[in-house]
């Protein structure tokens, strides 16, 4: 573990008794009290996640001239100021280099949030395709990132960032004065619950972590719960459900790809607009969990592979996602198999968990407060 990178909060995690494990080149907290308890707490109250390992780039310039608009799969010109959007960067074959969220922080200023394990590759890709005159900064080490997620997240955040934070709609961002700094807070997250992502200087992230946890309702949660939460929402995990060898169309993420504009990888996508395999999601018939790399059998025929699988704390059974190359509509019965283990499952349309609070309106906030 000598080479693993550590976030500024590593000693806080140790102090809280977290189980630490390598993730994307980082030593990260997997759990504190337990994955199921943290998962359930996030769905009902509010949890705090250390996400300092993820990367952030700041890009300044007009996106058409800079080449930025050609790097992402959606049209940056249609993204309003103080809004965020999910999308992809692709290679020439249409394979996914990364999934990312772009923040428009000013007319011609953008922040791009990328996965931890892909920061270097992403930076190289951006630098290669941005015009030389474009101002590109990798601010990953300078910025700390905390995710506050759960139905009670707004109540907790208001105390720190002021009542104005309640005005943020889903996938909007704003600047707020917190701990003497003007920080970005966005109403985003990867859990399906009402939640916020906070970007503060790396020097101050420990103070922010402590302040947020000082509210007794806020409990720390690790990457274990983050993984079960995102899987219940059928959100893909880069490196597992989506990779450089899969396209957004195969991953059933066509709605994040705008084929009416140009971008790197679009010609390849158009050539194979009817993908030969597709990402499906499925619910197991028992508490037994399908796991990464289990085979997927359709009508007894080997049809694909599980990319993500876990026990679902909300549904109390196994759930998962995987690619199949045979038709497999929702409702189809399939078998997940590895050696002697065979798990019966039914193909379903995501998300598995349908009561997430992420998109609830301001009115409903007031009633939950």
């Amino acid at each position: 573990m000598m080479d693993l990178k550590k976030t500024p909060l590593i000693y806080e995690h140790e102090r809280l008794g977290a189980k630490l494990a390598p993730f994307g080149g980082w030593l990260m907290p997997i759990q504190y009290s337990g994955i199921i308890a943290e998962h359930v707490w996030t769905r009902s109250e509010v949890s705090l996640f250390d996400i300092c390992h993820m990367g952030e780039f700041v890009i300044r310039g007009e996106p058409e001239k800079s080449g930025f608009n050609n790097i992402v799969t959606f049209d940056l010109r249609t993204l309003p100021i103080f809004s965020c959007r999910y999308g992809f960067t692709l290679n020439d074959a249409g394979g996914i280099i990364d999934d990312l969220i772009v923040y428009r922080t000013a007319e011609n200023e953008w922040m791009v949030v990328v996965n931890a394990a892909t920061i270097d590759g992403d930076e190289a890709h951006f630098r290669k395709h941005l015009s030389r005159s474009t101002d590109f900064q990798n601010v990953s080490s300078a910025l700390g990132k905390l995710d506050l997620q759960g139905p009670r997240s707004l109540d907790s955040l208001k105390r720190l960032a002021g009542p104005g934070v309640a005005n943020l709609d889903y996938y909007k961002l704003g600047y707020f004065n917190v701990l003497g700094e003007k920080i970005i807070i966005s109403r985003t997250g990867y859990t399906g619950e009402l939640g916020y992502e906070l970007y503060i200087s790396a020097d101050k992230v420990k103070e922010l972590w402590k302040k947020l946890l000082a509210d007794g309702r806020v409990k720390p949660a690790g990457l274990g719960a983050r993984d079960t939460l995102r899987l219940e929402m059928t959100y893909p995990l880069y490196g597992q459900d989506i990779t450089a060898d899969t396209t957004p169309l195969e991953a059933d993420k066509g709605k994040f790809v705008d084929l009416n504009k140009d971008f790197i990888g679009k010609p390849a996508l158009l050539k194979k607009s009817k993908p030969s395999r597709k990402l499906i999601s499925f619910i197991a018939e028992s508490r037994r969990s399908p796991r990464h790399n289990y085979r997927i059998l359709v009508n007894g025929k080997d049809a694909g592979v599980v990319t993500s699988g876990s026990f679902s704390p909300s549904l109390s059974c196994g759930i998962g996602m995987g690619y199949v190359d045979l038709p497999c509509a929702p409702g189809s019965r399939i078998t997940l198999k590895e050696n002697d283990v065979e798990i019966g499952a039914t193909v379903t349309k995501g998300p598995f968990y349908k009561k997430g609070t992420a998109k609830i309106s301001e009115d409903s906030h007031a009633h939950t407060g």
């Binding site: 189980k19 337990g34 994955i35 308890a37 037994r288 969990s289 796991r291 876990s310 026990f311 283990v341």
Partner: protein, 128 residues
């Protein structure tokens, strides 16, 4: 970490409580703690023969599935049916309510190949 004095232990973190010719078996407090939230337990059926140090069960936590090995050889006379509905009993009570099975022992030499509580404690301390 709880390591009862009256049990014997394997290097794979299983325990056995021997009473005459029968034995209760399960996984240790250390094992359940390392696995985290246990969500599923699959045990060989009652009537099946099991062999010392060979797999007879699988235990799943949220993140992973692990093999469980028999601390003694014999025939399973009873499995803990409660674990099908409440696998979390293994986390809550690894040596009592979370036992896996009861076995009729058929090899008197098996216990000599296991660790005492004191030996297991030393072994576990050496792992961290």
């Amino acid at each position: 970490m709880h390591i009862p004095d009256d049990l014997l232990y394997t290097k794979e973190h299983e325990w056995v409580r021997i009473k005459g010719k029968t034995a209760a078996i399960g996984i240790t407090d250390y094992a359940q703690g390392s696995l985290g939230d246990i969500t599923f337990v699959d045990i060989a059926k009652a009537g099946n023969a099991i062999e010392q140090f060979k797999q007879y069960a699988t235990v799943e936590s949220v993140k992973a599935a692990s093999d469980v090995y028999a601390p003694v050889s014999g025939k399973i006379s009873k499995i803990n049916g409660e674990l099908a509905i409440h696998p979390e009993l293994v986390n809550q009570s690894p040596y009592d309510k979370g036992y896996f099975a009861v076995v009729d022992i058929n090899n008197d030499k098996d216990p000599s190949r296991l660790m005492s509580a004191a030996e297991y404690k030393k072994y576990v301390e050496g792992l961290s």
